[in-house]
Symmetry: C2
Subunit: 243 residues, 2 copies
Amino acid sequence: MKQVTIHFDKIDQFPNALAIKFQGFLMNCLDEDYVDYLHEQATNPYATKLYHQDEETIWSVSLLNEEAERQILPVLLNLSEVTLHHQESLEIKKITLQELTTGHLLEIFNENDTDNVFTLYFQTPTGFKSQGDYVIFPSMRLIFQSLMQKYERLVNEGYEIEEDTLDYLAEHCQIISYRLETSSFKLHGRGIPSFKGRLTFRIRGAQTLKSYAHMLLTFGEFSGVGIKTSLGMGGLRVETREN
Amino acid sequence: MKQVTIHFDKIDQFPNALAIKFQGFLMNCLDEDYVDYLHEQATNPYATKLYHQDEETIWSVSLLNEEAERQILPVLLNLSEVTLHHQESLEIKKITLQELTTGHLLEIFNENDTDNVFTLYFQTPTGFKSQGDYVIFPSMRLIFQSLMQKYERLVNEGYEIEEDTLDYLAEHCQIISYRLETSSFKLHGRGIPSFKGRLTFRIRGAQTLKSYAHMLLTFGEFSGVGIKTSLGMGGLRVETREN
């Protein structure tokens, strides 16, 4: 899979609103049949995130399977500007490309890495649904459930996750610190309950468990976590350390 | 019950450390037999909180039953300075006294108040224990469980809370926004897992339910919420509005 990161001079609009406009722009650039196909997917094979950083606005698009790479990568790499609906063209300053292969993910899974403390930065509004309701506090179970689902559907092309594995993983994680606040992701005039901030947790247990978590979280930096990751929600950055 | 609030010029030390020193100072001012009695109580009939605000340090002591008022109030009202262990005397700038009667609490309970949105400010590190473990995310159930327990033990002099009432109350509250972060309350060299910040929730349902919650939270501004409120944890301020 690939992550294309596009840098602009800082755009004076809220990231939430921009993320949705950029996603609309992207859909307009793609083949219509493929856009129709995307609309039918339970788990989108791409994710976007948009945020301001220092004097830049950064838009990042992850292509999570081969077909998404084939359809979307050439379009993104050939962009020289972005024209949003009813707005001036935005000049692209820089495009960077990052690759994450399933081979690299397997390497992480097989590594004897001793890092067992993970800090998750929820870079964009992040939300979960559980039993039909929005959840505005993260839990280790919801985080890993979402990552396992995305991983299974997009990488393994399976459709079911192993609930026992999820339970075991969640039970061995302990949240040790956080700084979080609610936010509301506006979409079609509705606000989707969500949160932003950071969360640090420690995993205790077998090496395999730590490596599996590390692999899922590395994938998560591409896939995002939770709901509506194609529209710009759930942007994730991960730091690891030993403890 | 009474709340004595004592103002100092800002003291250049962490509120956590100061709170424990001030509590030690208070115990030294009291009758020894009464201090022994306090040590035996499951629920302390007093609570303290200490925080910096603008150019002041504010120490607040709540006396939650008549005996605590009798034993502690004269001591506090006669203070002109506070001398902490191995430190210079701290001059008191102002003392204010606030009263909350059970009559006033009953008035709140009987009022046809339409406020149903409550914002809780956790002014000092706040923590809960559930099934032996520290809990670092607040939940409406833990908040009201703690307030109901303190209220029952100190005001009603009963010892059991009605679990059904607690469940019903918690189920009708919905957290709508928060900004929270973990903190660690240092005590005897250990850090007690806790959090600080604010949380806003809405109650839906019968007038009685809103009034009961309002009454408990008004009491909570005196009693504090959660564990170790006598040592300065769980300091609570509440704002209400209609929605």
